[in-house]
């Protein structure tokens, strides 16, 4: 493994499977009466979050604590970033205190690469702008594999705000790498330019895309990143692209519905679908801890570049 996990592109197929297999072993720790192993004892992990996050930050923190690492959370709202410090300066100051791992969430695409160049610490990208969110794609793959026993050859349909989604990019890279048949679907205004070069099928009709799908992955409409009008109204978006029971019925009977959260009920997904029997949304959250434990463990022994 490389020093950092910034992008799915940093991983070979073998490394992806190693992470997933290790996560299987890690899951058992969460079922013990004492949910802790001494593996990362004495290691310091900094969770540096420049964007609000509940799931990802909590998930990383639980994973770190189950491995006995010393963790500290820097919530930007209460830090010197508000006093005008740049990311590079914050990074150098943190580096001076020699943490072993920095988990970074930042609103700018590529912020983790800047940190990676400055810091000797290992960097884990917990979401950088509209670029990537590799641990989310890994936990999605883990969840898919658990239900379908394979990833190769599955029809995976990703529907929603494709343009602003880092989850989309990481998932497309990972799923195509492992041989899934990936379809993406959304309004033409929310299609990233050149996405077809990644080896995916592009559709603007959700009814057509979901036919015989093994996996449907919904993406949140990220209004906080939208500058301008990409569609007339949320209601119209739901009517055209929202995941309803009628649309799910066109997929395979054993389809699973995924969503990286937080979900917007009635915008990209109907409540009956989000709470339906085929929904694995909460399993994704549970699996996130195991997958992040796996990544932390495997990175801590990775090759150090000096």
């Amino acid at each position: 493994m490389k020093k950092d996990l910034l992008s799915i592109d940093d991983l070979s197929s073998e490394e992806i499977y190693l992470i997933l297999d290790t996560a299987e072993a890690m899951r058992e720790i969460g079922q013990r009466p004492i949910k802790k192993v001494p593996t990362l004892r004495g290691k310091t992990v900094v969770n540096l979050f420049y964007e609000p996050s509940t799931r990802t930050r909590t998930s990383f923190e639980i994973a770190e604590k189950r491995l006995s690492a010393d963790t500290l959370n820097i919530a930007v709202a209460a830090s010197s970033v508000l006093k005008g410090e740049t990311l590079a300066d914050t990074a150098m100051n943190l580096e001076a205190m020699a943490p072993d791992v920095i988990v970074l969430r930042h609103a700018s695409s590529g912020a983790c690469y800047l940190l990676s160049r400055i810091c000797k610490s290992r960097i884990i990208n917990a979401g950088d702008g509209m670029h990537e969110h590799p641990t989310q794609a890994l936990l999605d793959a883990f969840t898919i594999r658990e239900h379908k026993k394979r990833i190769e050859g599955l029809k995976v349909v990703i529907v929603g705000d494709l343009l602003h989604s880092r989850v989309l990019r990481s998932n497309v890279l990972l799923l195509t790498r492992l041989g899934a048949d990936v379809w993406i679907c959304g309004p033409p205004t929310l299609l990233p330019a050149g996405i077809d070069r990644f080896g995916v099928h592009v559709s603007t009709s959700v009814g057509e895309a979901v036919v015989d799908a093994d996996v449907i992955m919904m993406l949140r409409i990220q209004q906080e990143r939208m500058q301008g009008a990409f569609f007339p109204s949320l209601r119209e978006y739901f009517n055209t692209f929202g995941m309803t029971e009628a649309r799910v019925a066109r997929a395979r009977p054993d389809v699973i519905i995924m969503h990286p959260g937080p979900i917007n009920r009635g915008v990209e997904i109907a409540s009956e679908v989000a709470d339906g029997p085929y929904s694995v949304i909460l399993e994704q959250v549970a699996n996130g801890v195991s997958v992040r434990m796996s990544v932390l463990y495997l990175l801590a022994g990775g090759q150090k570049e000096d």
């Binding site: 493994m1 190693l18 297999d21 290790t22 299987e24 072993a25 890690m26 058992e28 720790i29 013990r32 009466p33 004492i34 802790k36 192993v37 001494p38 593996t39 990362l40 004495g42 290691k43 491995l67 463990y297 495997l298 801590a300 022994g301 990775g302 090759q303 150090k304």
Partner: protein
């Protein structure tokens, strides 16, 4: 590469250890086996099978040949100690050791645990295994079973049941092969 135990000898040794376990614990009550990955696991499974067979035979012959007594089951689990190793983060270059699944599908509280491994050497694996086991609960006791004790302890650890004591030098290595994993039963000493 001299073979120091062949299939016959391994099977007789496990038979003897199983009887010693039953003798010392006065039966199977509260007994449970935990094998250390990788090769402690099949050894633990075989011991469990022998103990069950012996116990079954004894109880059915006692009640006049009628197998009226319920089937004896000795719970058996497997333990991966990688996350508890004391050398894990000391050489942070190169890939991390692969973690396999720990499966202890029973409560170890108040059980008499038989911890099973193939070779006892420095004692560091056993130290890690003890730490790992304690995280699962509070057993009544832990006893150690090894197929081979090759000496050179670095920690104050001693086995309760030893298949064979093998005096070795530090330059040698002891290889245990088991049918379930390696396709044959054999213990050999290699010069490295």
């Amino acid at each position: 590469m001299p073979v120091v135990m062949d299939a016959d000898r391994i099977s007789r040794t496990l038979m003897r250890i199983a009887h010693e376990i039953l003798e010392r614990n006065r039966g199977v009550e509260d007994l449970a086996l935990v094998g250390i990955r990788t090769r402690g696991v099949p050894i633990a499974r075989r011991l469990a099978q022998i103990i069950q067979d012996v116990q079954q035979r004894d109880s059915s012959s006692g009640s006049g040949g009628e197998p009226a007594t319920p089937k004896v089951e000795v719970p058996t689990g497997s333990l991966d100690i990688t996350l508890y190793r004391d050398d894990l983060m000391r050489h942070p270059v190169g890939p991390q050791p692969v973690i396999r699944r720990t499966e202890i599908p029973f409560s170890i509280d108040d059980k008499r645990i038989l911890l099973v491994d193939d070779v006892l050497y420095t004692g560091r694996t056993i130290r890690a295994a003890l730490d790992a086991l304690i995280d699962f609960g509070r057993p009544k006791s832990i006893q150690l079973v090894v197929l081979v004790d090759r000496g050179h302890r670095e920690l104050p650890i001693k086995a309760d049941y030893v298949g064979r004591n093998l005096p070795t030098s530090l330059s040698q290595s002891v290889q245990v092969h088991l049918t379930e994993i390696d396709g044959r039963d054999e213990v050999e000493i290699q010069e490295s």
